[in-house]
Symmetry: C2
Subunit: 310 residues, 2 copies
């Protein structure tokens, strides 16, 4: 049995505007790095390597070890692992940091155990890890992080994950305001009921977005990204959100919305040059706010979590 | 200027399970037949030809003349037309009878006026006619009736109609219990609010259905047809609905749901033989009810409203 493996697990954007809780896609960067080794102690041990983004070392509080434990329970085996996490995706930034920890760990352990599960089956275990971060099992970050590309979670019970082909020229700008929004808190502010008329508008856009993605109709993707239900409630948590979105759209973005539960904001573009132009305008706009932020361009990551080359 | 034209306008199935108010498709049969002639009276006159399915002859109460008037108003012209309607789609049956009247009339007049509008633009006028039948402007029957195939109404304001390719082997069984459900009444019973959790399940299915249609994945189409919001409220208006649906699914239907606001029920199948098998089982089941009904198989009509050959 292989003793050690290093993997990288990408950041991801969930919700995709209208597709709250059902859609997500993987980013080319940033990626968490992790090394997982067998130990003979029958214990899961976490080591947090990046002092800038420390992760909990208590194995009952870390999404990675909780996910691994769920897999070990399913297999009904006892095996200890040391998990070194070099966290590169800032926790709480809204681009699937916890999902990457869970996905990377579960992928690594599955490799060390000689693949008792297929890649798609790993999602269920990573979801168990996600409960620690968000208070509920959700798959819209772990699914794209594991599989790459764009993923649809059609159903949770039973889980039904469907890969959606990503158009080749789709690029993404991520602006991350360095404020913290906890996923669990961003969920709590959501009203439990929605108007049927708003729900109809929302699923019209969901249908338009899927059609746009599968037919590579970038204009249709753009006009389908609007979210009538979640964005109006959550956007107030993000300083100067409306202005930022208007700037992105004016600069030629297909659409702009909240990544996951925020605070990161994503804008989609057709092509790399367009993404850079949008990034420049968003940066210029946000420099007027008194908030530290990161901004970068990424393509859609088609691979998902993988064994590291080094 | 041409004096007279005969057209046929197909029945259609709207809602398509999860796609309430946004999806519909045209049927190969039945089709309304209409003949429209210029008159020199500056009046719209309706003649109802089928005594089995009479239509209102008051031009302010007939969807066809109301739709035509909306077009004439837009063009700002005065022109009289005699409209003879040979109604073949039973009014109130839930397969777009009023939409076919409106679509056929507006298509015929557009031809006689030498096509001031493109086919897609006719939808807005036919929608005005639809308000008479349902109490609100909706396009999920008129759009497929005019364009053929499967149509998505992504948005109403502004109107945004997107054709969705219909998989080649998609067939439909229609069972029409001969009871009357008015569209306006079927709308009134719907709750104005829905649970966010149900809405998420619904748009997961909408996304799955569109993916299934565009990728010709019949299994995915089938498992995406479930409707968590409308069907539970409306199915009680249709006698023995649950039993009928179970029968269709057991006989191999991909899915089964309410056509429009009912009372017709549709079942989708992969292939013509499967449709006939499902039809036989549904017929056998419904013969146990003390209700007169029609049942038939149709493919998806790819053409929509057209000039009659005769």
């Amino acid at each position: 049995m292989q003793k050690s493996i290093s993997v990288s697990a990408p950041a991801s954007v969930s919700n995709l505007g209208c597709g709250f809780d059902i859609l997500g896609f993987a980013l080319e960067k940033p990626q968490d790095k992790m090394t997982v080794r067998n130990n003979n102690l029958n214990k899961l041990r976490i080591k947090s390597q990046n002092t800038n983004y420390p992760v909990p070392e208590d194995p009952t509080k870390n999404v990675a070890s909780v996910a691994i434990q769920a897999m070990l329970n399913k297999l009904n085996i006892q095996q200890g692992f040391d998990i070194e996490i070099d966290k590169q995706i800032k926790p709480g930034s809204g681009i699937g940091s916890s999902a990457a920890s869970a996905a990377g760990a579960i992928f690594a352990v599955n490799e060390l155990l000689q693949r008792p599960f297929k890649k798609k089956q790993l999602i269920q275990f990573a979801m168990v890890g996600e409960t620690i971060a968000s208070g509920c099992e959700h798959a819209d970050n772990v699914a794209p992080c594991i599989l790459g590309g764009i993923t649809l979670i059609r159903s949770y019970k039973p889980i039904d994950i469907i890969p959606i082909d990503a158009p080749g020229k789709l690029f993404c700008v991520i602006l991350h305001p360095k404020i913290e929004i906890k996923t669990s808190e961003a969920r709590e502010i959501l009203k439990k009921d929605v108007l049927l008329t708003d729900a109809v508008k929302q699923w019209g856009n969901v249908a338009g977005l899927i059609t746009g993605l599968l037919k590579e109709d970038y204009e249709l993707i753009g006009r389908s990204l609007d979210d009538y239900i979640i964005e109006p409630q959550r956007s107030k948590l993000i300083p100067a959100y409306d202005m930022l979105k208007a700037t992105a759209l004016n600069a030629g973005a297909l659409g702009c919305n909240i990544s996951g539960s925020g605070p990161s904001v994503f804008a989609l573009t057709k092509g790399y040059d367009a993404a850079n132009k949008v990034m420049d305008e968003m940066r210029k706009q946000y420099q007027n706010e008194n908030i530290d932020f990161d901004i970068f361009v990424s393509s859609v990551n088609q691979t998902g979590v993988k064994i590291s080359e080094s």
